[in-house]
């Protein structure tokens, strides 16, 4: 009985805290939406907590601007982020599994090596990255934004940790006894078990890639290959006559919406993945 009362007290505290935190989170999101409904002139005058009447006008002025490839940009961003998330999670799982399930001579070295590069600040390599990409003839293409995500040490580490806690090697052996090939074992047995981890990391890499400005800004030149963050930067860099904060907020909002959709989609998937239960000991 006592523990029940304690539980309900904890429940109240939990709800209060959650409501406060949610309010804080939503508040900033709300401001973004509200700002997207104001004209540039309104925004310049200062902040207003109430929505204005410019939502549709802002949207149309972003969408109908012939010189501003919004839809193309969203498509490019979807391609880049989608592919990055997919290959990043797949290959990281593959690598994690390779190091977890097999014993080989350089296993320890390989693992230590990845742990070492995990801490490598990314901008360090970016200095030579552009030159490399240019030499490989991939300048101004979407490929260099996608392929390098095969090697994501931190995603690897997450997958490895997850495998440690969720994949009994007995399962692998059982599948071998059933006559499954190694790749088949990975694709049919291991991947499903890793679904929750993959979903989590897929969101993170998708978001990271979606919001990435600097690598694309470096590599992308032509308008039809620009991604959403570059387009936002273009708006912010518009000349003083066309500078329109309303449009900028609208574009940021447009950038956030697909991400939320993907997130909602995947967040259900995580729960489902877990409740279906990959491993029972």
């Amino acid at each position: 009985m006592k523990s029940k009362r304690a539980d309900s007290l904890r429940s109240v505290i939990a709800h209060v805290l959650l409501v406060i935190l949610s309010f804080m989170c939503l508040f900033f999101f709300y401001i973004l939406v509200v700002n997207a409904t104001h004209s540039h002139a309104d925004l310049q005058k200062g902040f207003s907590a109430l929505p204005g009447g410019h939502l549709i006008k802002n949207f149309l002025s972003v969408a109908n601007d012939g010189t501003f490839p919004m839809f193309r940009g969203i498509l490019n961003s979807l391609i880049v982020s989608g592919c990055s998330a997919a290959i990043c999670t797949y290959f990281s799982s593959l690598t994690a599994y390779g190091l977890y399930a097999y014993d080989f001579k350089f296993k320890k070295i390989a693992f230590t090596f990845i742990m070492a590069i995990l801490v490598m600040p990314t901008q360090v390599t970016a200095m030579g990255f552009l030159r490399l990409v240019t030499n490989m003839g991939m300048y101004d293409s979407l490929l260099p934004l996608i392929i390098p995500s095969i090697a994501s040490p931190s995603v690897f580490y997450f997958m490895y940790s997850y495998l440690q806690s969720s994949l009994p090697l007995s399962l692998v052996e059982a599948s071998r006894i059933d006559g499954c090939g190694e790749f088949r074992t990975f694709n049919k047995i291991v991947l499903p078990i890793m679904k929750p981890a993959i979903a989590v990391q897929a969101i993170f890499s998708f978001v990271g890639s979606w919001n990435n400005y600097f690598v694309p800004a470096l590599i992308i030149q032509s308008k039809d290959k620009m991604t959403v963050p570059i387009l936002i930067a273009t708006l912010r860099g518009a000349d003083y006559m066309n500078f329109d904060m309303g449009k900028i907020y609208m574009m940021i909002m447009i950038a956030v919406v697909p991400i939320i959709l993907v997130y909602l989609l995947l967040s259900k998937y995580i729960i489902a993945g877990i409740t279906l239960g990959g491993v029972k000991e």
Partner: protein
């Protein structure tokens, strides 16, 4: 996972790529070869590549260049009547992406295929000298292009020609725009404090800094600020320095006495309450609000674009509430320069475009009418100053601002430039903000400026402060 951080950090990376350097001498050699090959018109390339950071130039070319036939829907390619294509390569200014990409292209210019070569690029006053530098040889002298600045550009304001010239006085760029600045003030405050809102009488009250200070006292007594921020007055001092920040070929930054006067006066004005202490610098929310009807700020210092595109959108009252008059000191703020790029394979087209957009009086007047630029034609602007019908500003309650701009433009003596201006101007304002706000001592602000400069420009060996 902090992937987002990692990726964003790549700002870093913006700086990349220089690694593919080709020797400067080498490229010069090749460039002069190309120039020779292109000297006959038939050798013109099929593609004109124009580098810019926004669509300002693009719009003006489309508006006045007679050869334009059509532009693709996304605005990235314009076809001329003779079939030549203009490719607009527009990179955002944000985080220095524009200059980064341009620099990369310039370094690769010699090796680029003819149709990939940069033909025209644009620069702003703050960094024009980086590109007009004789040694860098990125911009072709106009003479070599077949434009005689003495003759073809005779009607331009001479300070714009000086700005676009290298240290030997060779003009390497041209502009359609000229940005003389005025003092624009609130009529209602003027009436309350001085009993009059007449531009001539107010002009007397702000005619130089000493008179201005008395005026500021009066405003303060009635509870008004003279200007919003210390950054507002910077251009006036910064444009009247006697020596460049860095002399050509030198590696010593000499801070001009005028800059220190700005520091001293800004501190004095801020402490005296003539400036609004809560407005820190420009282009932020507080600054925008200082232009609203609730604000206690009497005046701003703006060129034509500032009045129409910064002040007007921020003003929430009726038209006619603001008026312009002469500033305490002539100054220029802003301006975009058009350069022909060394190694271009379309010299004839480039010449035509530059002449059409920056030297043709009718075209310039059209730009003034359509885009409200104060354009680079002395005779044209004199006409505009008298033509109260065409050029009366609705926002200024029917006042013709060109009448006030014209004399300022004629008296502007542009400060000697250096390739370091953009960094120096930005960093001195930033470093002394802490001092103005009382966060650090004067000497600490100086040290902070020195640190910031050395980070930005590793080649600087010494920073000299005036005594």
């Amino acid at each position: 996972m902090k992937k987002k951080y990692m990726s964003i950090l790549l700002t870093a990376a913006l700086a990349v790529g220089a690694l593919t350097g080709c020797g400067a001498n080498d490229s010069k050699q090749k460039d002069s070869d190309t120039k020779k090959a292109d000297s006959n018109n038939d050798g013109e390339g099929k593609v004109i590549n124009i580098y810019s950071w926004n669509d300002e130039f693009y719009k003006r070319v489309l508006a006045v260049y007679p050869e334009v036939k059509e532009t693709s829907k996304d605005g990235s390619v314009t076809t001329l009547k003779d079939g030549t294509e203009i490719h607009w390569i527009i990179n955002p200014n944000q985080d220095g992406v524009y200059q980064q990409k341009l620099d990369e292209a310039l370094l690769n210019q010699a090796d680029a295929a003819a149709d990939d070569k940069v033909d025209i690029f644009l620069s702003e006053t703050d960094y024009v000298y980086k590109y007009t530098d004789a040694e860098a040889d990125a911009a072709i002298p106009l003479k070599d292009l077949g434009i005689d600045p003495e003759k073809d550009l005779a009607d331009q304001y001479s300070f714009t020609k000086v700005t676009a010239s290298d240290e030997y006085g060779v003009q390497r760029g041209s502009t359609w725009q000229c940005c003389p600045g005025l003092l624009v003030y609130r009529r209602d405050i003027a009436k309350k404090v001085f009993g009059t809102d007449d531009p001539t009488e107010i002009g007397e009250k702000v005619k130089d800094w000493n008179v201005m200070e008395e005026t500021a006292k009066e405003l303060k007594a009635k509870g008004y600020y003279t200007f919003a921020s210390y950054a507002d007055t910077f251009r006036l001092y910064g444009n009247s320095i006697d020596e460049p920040w860095v002399k050509a070929g030198d590696t010593v930054i000499k801070i001009d006495q005028k800059i220190m006067e700005w520091v001293d006066n800004s501190k004095k004005w801020l402490d005296a309450g003539y400036l609004n202490k809560t407005v820190k610098g420009q282009w932020n929310n507080d600054w925008n609000q200082a232009m609203g009807s609730k604000s206690k700020v009497f005046a701003f210092l703006f060129p034509a674009w500032g009045i129409d595109f910064t002040l007007k959108p921020n003003w929430d009252g009726d038209n006619g509430a603001w008026a312009v008059t002469n500033p305490p000191q002539e100054y220029n703020w802003g301006g975009s320069y058009v350069h022909a790029c060394t190694g271009t394979d379309n010299p004839q087209h480039v010449k035509d475009i530059i002449l059409a957009v920056t030297a043709n009086k009718d075209n310039l007047l059209k730009i003034s009418k359509d885009y409200l630029d104060y354009t680079n034609t002395q005779s044209g602007m004199k006409e505009a100053a008298k033509d109260n019908k065409t050029y009366a500003s609705e926002f200024l309650g029917g006042q013709n601002s060109f009448e006030y701009f014209a004399p300022v433009a004629e008296n502007i003596k542009i400060a000697p430039l250096s390739a370091y201006d953009q960094g120096c101007v930005e960093l001195i304002q930033n470093s002394f903000t802490d001092y103005f706000q009382g966060k650090v001592a004067f000497d600490k602000a100086k040290t902070n400026f020195e640190t910031a400069i050395r980070e930005r420009y590793p080649e600087i060996t010494e920073i000299q402060w005036p005594k």
